[in-house]
């Protein structure tokens, strides 16, 4: 019981971080970015390349006990985040900015195209074989014995993912609620026209939205690679859970995206244990359908 919940929270951490960026994109850029999942995949793979470079420079991966990774992966994570942020700015300048006046449908179609290009770019560069950041075996820690609610085991890497997700989410919340740029982003999401006459530069807000979404996507991608594996279809596989989390939480709400992501993660974990791993993706689909039928605005939709 608790094990299912813990596994779900780990999956949900990845989904939550990705969903925050997608939700911000939805509410500020005002279109559903079907390429967002690919940003997670690119983050994961750029980190893989950077990890190879840093490990070579350091003469090894230097794992920090009890984790399977060392500082080279942390440095690679930072490089991946910056690289994906740069990638989104290039994508925006080359594609989305040119189409912004055409409306949301055009942007959505463009994002499909961007997703295809990004996914196949990864396939071309890295091949289709699953890869891992580390070949180190991790021993799960027994947090609770089996006799208590079925027991609870978790690896140090999973604990790291949960902790860093919590820190990141709090950081994003503080940024959006306390900083001028964060408040300007919320204001633009609420009322873009009023934001303009209030003196908020819309292009600056758009760039910030891309960058923050990209940073979070890269972190989520690295977490996915760390806790599961890297594969070029990572972004596509995560797309439905990301959308389910955003719609479940309510478009524009950071905490909604986080909670939505965790619920989707737990639903997937339940599906794995109850009906088998092959039906895992169906869990997100059912969550999405259920929320659309019961509360289409989501749990924490931002009101205008």
């Amino acid at each position: 019981m608790l094990q299912i919940l813990a596994d779900g929270l780990v999956i949900g951490s990845v989904v939550s971080l990705g969903a925050i960026g997608l939700s911000l994109c939805f509410s500020i850029l005002r279109f559903a970015n079907f390429g967002h999942g690919e940003l997670l995949a690119w983050g994961a793979y750029v980190a893989l390349s950077a990890l190879a470079v840093f490990s070579a420079l350091a003469g090894g991966a230097h794992p920090i006990a009890p984790f399977s990774f060392g500082w080279p992966l942390l440095a690679a994570l930072a490089v991946a985040a910056l690289a994906v942020a740069a990638l989104t700015l290039v994508l925006d300048a080359a594609l989305f900015k040119r189409l912004r006046r055409q409306g949301a449908i055009t942007l959505v179609i463009a994002s499909f195209g961007a997703a295809l290009a990004l996914r196949n770019g990864l396939l071309f560069l890295y091949g289709g074989v699953p890869q891992y950041y580390s070949q180190e075996l991790q021993i799960a820690v027994h947090l609770l014995p089996r006799r208590l609610l079925g027991g609870l085991r978790i690896t140090p890497d999973q604990l790291f993912v949960l902790a860093l997700t919590a820190v990141t989410v709090v950081g994003v919340h503080l940024f959006l609620s306390r900083s001028t740029l964060g408040r300007a982003m919320r204001a633009t999401a609420m009322n873009p026209q009023l934001a303009r006459v209030a003196g908020i530069d819309p292009e600056r807000v758009l760039r910030a939205t891309w960058v923050i979404g990209a940073l979070l996507a890269a972190v989520a991608g690295v977490f996915a690679g760390l806790t599961v594996q890297l594969r070029p279809t990572l972004g596509l596989d995560l797309l439905l859970p990301l959308f389910a989390a955003v719609i479940l939480g309510g478009i524009g709400s950071v905490w909604g995206a986080v909670l939505g992501g965790l619920i989707v993660g737990v639903a997937e974990s339940v599906a794995v244990h109850v009906v088998g791993a092959e039906y895992r993706a169906a869990a997100a689909f059912f969550v999405l359908i259920a929320i659309l039928l019961v509360r289409p605005t989501g749990l924490f939709a931002e009101k205008t």
């Binding site: 919320r186 006459v197 003196g199 009101k303």
Partner: protein
């Protein structure tokens, strides 16, 4: 003689290219004036102020603010030039508190928060008392006060308002328009679009009647109140009878 606070010259503006709503409008507003823009529905009143505020594309003509051409200045830069605009609806950030609305306005300008907020709170003490309240929970009149207060944080030289009385009770209309007089008394030039002609002419120094996208009548508020066409079209029989008397 000093240049006008706001000078609109032969302005044409359209939401869609080739379909102008404002068709060669002219309006000159002197510093310290309250000028009302009146007219029937669809005359282009709101489009005119939105075009001046940078929200509707201008296809011809120009706009001068204290002599400086601001025709091509983007909407988000106009507040730095001294022009503030209060839209008719959704004119506050509903999910931010009163304090956050005002602090954001100050922060965008990179101005000292206390220095900007204190005078505004002094002018609108109700807002200070309720500063932790979400703007979305305010009544129509309070929202309008907050919208004006938010605009005043920028210390504009010209304040434009699009139908500040829309949706308000007659009592609140009087309060809001009285506030505009107090705003003018601080040295701010005020331009307001109004459907409520009687209330607008009670507060304005001058007014312009817009018809089909250009000014049809321009005069002092007293002249327009006495104008038989205005009385007949906008002020009703009672006032018409008063005017005749």
């Amino acid at each position: 003689m000093s240049s006008p606070a706001l000078d609109i010259e032969s302005l044409e503006a359209a939401y869609e290219p080739g379909l102008p709503i404002v068709r060669g409008a002219n309006l000159r507003v002197q510093p310290g004036e309250i000028v009302a823009i009146l007219g029937p529905n669809g005359a282009g009143k709101s489009t005119l102020v939105k075009a001046v505020a940078g929200l509707v594309p201008i296809s011809a003509g120009r706009v001068l603010l204290h002599g400086a051409d601001i025709t091509c200045v983007p909407a988000h830069r106009l507040v730095f030039e001294g022009l503030a605009f209060v839209p008719q609806t959704e004119n506050v950030f509903a999910n931010l508190t009163i304090a956050e609305n005002l602090e954001l306005a100050a922060a965008i300008l990179k101005a000292d928060k206390r220095e900007r907020l204190d005078p505004v709170y002094a002018m609108f003490p109700d807002l200070q008392r309720q500063r932790a309240l979400l703007a979305g929970r305010l009544s129509g009149g309070q929202r309008q006060m907050l919208a004006v207060a938010r605009a005043l944080i920028a210390r504009p030289r010209v304040l434009m308002l699009d139908e500040p009385s829309a949706g308000l009770s007659p009592k609140l209309v009087g309060q809001v328009l009285d506030q505009l007089k107090r705003v003018r008394d601080t040295g701010v030039t005020v331009v307001l679009v109004e459907q409520n002609v009687k209330a607008a002419l009670a507060v304005a120094d001058r007014a312009a009647v817009l018809v089909e996208g250009r000014e049809h009548l321009v005069g002092t508020a007293a002249e327009l109140r006495a104008d038989a066409r205005i009385a007949e079209l906008y002020l009703g029989r009672h006032v018409q009878a008063q005017a005749v008397a």
